[in-house]
Each structure stands twice: as structure tokens, then as C-alpha cells.
């Protein structure tokens, strides 16, 4: 579904991605973790060609997104929904209009139908009553959920999440995790999540990749990841009070 082939990227005179190679299968919930500046968000931006590799290629299915232009790039992007770190809602539009915007812009559907769909998606993320609220009236968690409703309104095959739980309290974070997991289980969506939050990753990921200084230093299932002998991985887990023995245990429920 998504394939990185030896992707290199330098930004501001610094190597951010240094030969990154990985493949994500359809229906996966793939987490990319790592410290700040490790190249996580940069990887995500390469998938939708907000950034272009200096060398290497990024494939979405059979299309090379890193070389796509014009119509092909537009077509590839229609396969994606993206939840940005700050939700990236347009501040002059109410929550409902933000959610319906992709349909209003990309389709000829009647406005009443778009409104009904926007209400349905808002209900799906638990915000039935927020349709008329302006982004400034919403809390951080609510904004992210509106962003998620907007990301899924076009029924994309792939959803990218950039730090979906950052700045949120643990309870709201787990509710976002649950939404991501529900989308995979209910709609078979392929999800790519960039985060620092190992609790989220261990709870809902199918696989986790850890980036450090632009390289993948570990890649495996949550069970494999937590047992990794890699010093960077263990340091990262321990910093969040997660150890191989005891502190974290997957309960099966969120």
C-alpha cells in the first residue's frame, strides 16, 4: 500500500531522512515513533507529497507519489485523509462546514446532502452537537475530532495522523486511540500514525517503526517492539515508564 525506498531528505542543512525503507500493508495501523526531530512528520509529509525526497522514492500502491504531478498527484491525494497536529481547521468556518469542505470542493453533491454527511461524521467522532460551533469555541480534543471527521468524510483508503494525542489529557487521548482503532476495524482503513505516545502505539498499532536521526532503528509488532534489545528503543520506552516487565500490559480494551 505505502512503500518507502531508500528515501533521503535534508532540510535546513540537516539530514532528516537517511535512507528510510519500509512498507505498510493495506489495513495496517502503522505507528512511526521517535524523539523530536527524528524525521517522523517529514516521513508523513512525503506520503502526500507535501515534501519531495532528495533521493529515493515513495510509492502509494502502484503510483510513485514522489514523482507524481498534476492530475496524478491529485488522484493519489484523494486516497488520503490527514489529521494534522493542530487539526488545521479553517477558523472562519464552523465545525460542520470544515467537515463538509472536501465534499463541497471536490464533488457536485447538493449542499443538504453534504450537511447530512458532515453531521453523520461528527456524530461518529462523538460531536453531534458541535456542527455550528466555531473552531475557537472548541477544546483541543474536540478540534482534533473535528479534524478526524473531516479526514474521513471522503471515505479515504489511508488516513495519516500527525501527533493525534499530543497536548491532550490521557482520557481524551484514549478516546482518539479508540476512534483510530474503530476506523481500522470497521472500515478497513490503513492508518499511519506519527506520535511520541508509546501507550497509544502499544495499544492499537499493528506494527511500530522507530526513527532515530533519520534512520529506522526498530520495526516490529508491539510485542516485538517492547522486547527490542535496541538501546534507543528501551530508552524511549523507559522515558514513558514502560518496561519489558510489568508496567505496560495490553488489556485488549481501550
Amino acid at each position: 500500500m505505502i512503500r518507502f525506498e531508500k528515501v533521503h531528505k535534508r532540510l535546513g542543512g540537516r539530514t532528516v531522512l537517511d535512507g528510510v525503507d519500509f512498507e505498510i500493508a493495506p489495513g495496517e495501523t502503522f505507528f512511526i515513533v521517535g524523539t523530536s526531530g527524528a524525521g517522523k512528520s517529514v516521513s508523513l509529509k512525503h506520503m502526500v507529497r507535501l515534501l519531495t525526497p532528495d533521493s529515493g522514492r515513495v510509492w502509494i500502491g502502484d503510483d510513485c507519489v514522489s514523482e507524481a504531478r498534476g492530475r496524478l498527484l491529485e488522484k493519489i491525494r484523494t486516497r488520503f485523509g490527514v489529521l494534522f497536529q493542530g487539526a488545521a481547521l479553517l477558523n472562519w468556518m464552523c465545525a460542520g462546514d470544515n467537515v463538509g469542505l472536501p465534499l463541497l470542493e471536490r464533488t457536485n453533491r447538493p449542499e443538504e446532502e453534504i450537511e447530512a454527511l458532515a453531521r453523520e461524521k461528527l456524530a461518529l467522532v462523538g460531536l453531534e452537537t458541535a456542527y455550528d460551533k466555531m473552531p475557537g469555541e472548541l477544546s483541543g480534543g474536540m478540534r482534533k475530532r473535528v479534524g478526524l471527521a473531516r479526514a474521513i468524510i471522503t471515505s479515504p483508503e489511508i488516513i495519516l495522523y500527525d501527533e493525534p494525542t499530543s497536548g491532550l489529557d490521557p482520557v481524551t487521548s484514549r478516546s482518539i486511540d479508540q476512534l483510530i482503532d474503530n476506523l481500522r476495524q470497521g472500515l478497513g482503513v490503513t492508518s499511519v500514525v506519527v506520535t511520541h505516545d508509546m501507550h497509544s502505539a502499544l495499544a492499537i498499532a499493528t506494527r511500530i517503526a522507530m526513527l532515530d536521526a533519520g534512520r529506522i532503528v526498530e520495526l516490529g509488532t508491539p510485542a516485538e517492539f517492547i522486547k527490542s534489545p535496541n538501546e534507543k528503543v528501551q530508552q524511549f520506552l523507559q522515558a514513558q515508564y514502560i518496561t519489558q516487565r510489568g508496567a505496560w500490559e495490553k488489556t485488549g480494551t481501550l
Binding site: E74, R77, T78, V82, F84, G86, A88, L101, L104, E111
Partner: protein
């Protein structure tokens, strides 16, 4: 880096920015056909309201006092020769040909242009522009084109309004301080001004509107480095717009008045 190298780099940067701004203008112009689409028409009307109606207050004050100052300064000098009755002609010609579009351009650059640059810059920083691109929405059609159409349409109307208020200010000064009756003042207003003066002034206003939107959107889209970058884009928008309006004003005058 020596002074020549620094100067060379600045010239190259200015040329590059000018080229990019012109490409942005060309792309926005090519999108004007979508101005009546359901996605754009309400935003275009909203932008006309924001850039036009909401600017009337400050334009009224500036135009009124400029007209008064113009009438007073020229009137006092002309009175020495017993020609103060002609201040109506002077005020009208100066406003129609130069000061009307020029003042309106500067006011709009400082108020609307800076606001556009700040909005675009904030949208870049908060990834809203990236979000639009991912949603398959062309930011130039969605954001730049409605503002371009709005200011290109509103600027001539605002300039007409500036001219009218300025002439009125001049009339009041003429009547209260120079003993020029309203009838004599307005009679002279229309005696020497030609349609060409009005039309060239309105054309200048149209060009200034296009300049302000192009500079503001280009600077906004080029924003980097968060809040500091937004501040820089706003400041640069005002400075570049002022200088471009001034320069273009001269060349347009030269083009029409040889």
C-alpha cells in the same frame, strides 16, 4: 560577505520574489472563471465587504482631512494672487489624477493587505494550506482569487469615494476659511477636470488593488518560522506594497500624461 556580494544577493532575491509573485498573480487570474462557482461566490462577496465597506471609516477621515489640507495650503498661496476661487480645480485635479488612488492604495495596503498577509501566514504556519492541498483544494483558487477579484472591483469604488470626500473637505475649507462659495468651488471642480483624469485615476486604483493582493498573498504564502515569520510577512507586505504603488503610480502617470 562583502557589500557587493550582499547587494547582489538582495537583487537576486528581489527578482526571484517578483517572479514568484507574478506567477501567483497569473495563476489567480486564470482561476477568475470560477468566481461565481458555489465554492467561491460567497467568499468573494465577503471579501468585498471586508475590503470595501469595512475600510470606509478610515478612508473617510483620511480623505476628508487630505482634501482640507490640500485646499488650505494651495488656497493660502493662491490668495496672494487673488486666485483662491480656483482651489476647486486644484483639489479635484490632484485628487482625481493622483492623491485619490494613491491614498486609497496606501490605506488598503496598510489595513487590508497586512490582514491578508497575516491570515495567509498563519494558515501556512498552522498547516491549513497543507490541509487544503491534501483535500484537493487549490489554495490559489480558494484563497487568492476571491481576494483579488474583491479588491480589483472595490478599489475603483473606494477611490471614487475618496475623491468625493476629499473634494467635499476642500469645499468646506474654501467656504469657511477662504471665502469661496460652494457654487464657485464646485463650478471650478468640473470646469477643468476631464473624463480622462477620472478614468486614469480609477485604472490606477484597480492596478493598486491587484498589487496589494498579490504582494500580501505572496508574502503570506512564503511565511516560515511561526509567529515571527507572520510578523515579518505583514511588515514586508506593507513596505513592498507602498513602494510598488509609488513606483507604479509614477509609470502609469507617465504612460497617460506625456
Amino acid at each position: 560577505m562583502n557589500a557587493w556580494a550582499r547587494l547582489g544577493r538582495q537583487v537576486l532575491t528581489a527578482l526571484r520574489d517578483t517572479g514568484r509573485a507574478l506567477v501567483l498573480l497569473a495563476e489567480a487570474t486564470s482561476q477568475v472563471v470560477f468566481v461565481f462557482s458555489r465554492q467561491n461566490r460567497s467568499d468573494t462577496l465577503h471579501q468585498m465587504f471586508v475590503s470595501g465597506i469595512k475600510s470606509l471609516g478610515v478612508i473617510t477621515v483620511v480623505a476628508f482631512f487630505t482634501g482640507m489640507i490640500l485646499a488650505l495650503q494651495t488656497g493660502l498661496e493662491m490668495r496672494r494672487y487673488g486666485q483662491e476661487v480656483y482651489i476647486g480645480s486644484v483639489v479635484t485635479l490632484v485628487l482625481l489624477r493622483e492623491m485619490g488612488p494613491f491614498m486609497t492604495g496606501l490605506i488598503i495596503a496598510a489595513s487590508v493587505g497586512s490582514a491578508i498577509a497575516a491570515q495567509m501566514g498563519t494558515m501556512v504556519v498552522s498547516e491549513e494550506i497543507s490541509a487544503l492541498e491534501i483535500m484537493g483544494i487549490n489554495p490559489v483558487r480558494f484563497l487568492v482569487m476571491p481576494r483579488l477579484v474583491a479588491l480589483a472591483v472595490m478599489m475603483p469604488f473606494l477611490t471614487l469615494y475618496t475623491n468625493a470626500i476629499g473634494i467635499l473637505g476642500g469645499a468646506i475649507v474654501g467656504y469657511t476659511q477662504l471665502d469661496v462659495s460652494f457654487i464657485a468651488y464646485f463650478d471650478n471642480c468640473t470646469r477643468y477636470a476631464e473624463n480622462k483624469d477620472l478614468l486614469v485615476g480609477l485604472f490606477k486604483a484597480f492596478v493598486f488593488g491587484v498589487i496589494v493582493v498579490t504582494v500580501a498573498c505572496h508574502q503570506g504564502f512564503a511565511t516560515t518560522e511561526g509567529a515571527v515569520g507572520v510578523g515579518r510577512a505583514t511588515r514586508r507586505t506593507v513596505i513592498i506594497s507602498f513602494l510598488t504603488i509609488l513606483t507604479m503610480g509614477y509609470f502609469l502617470t507617465r504612460m497617460f500624461y506625456k
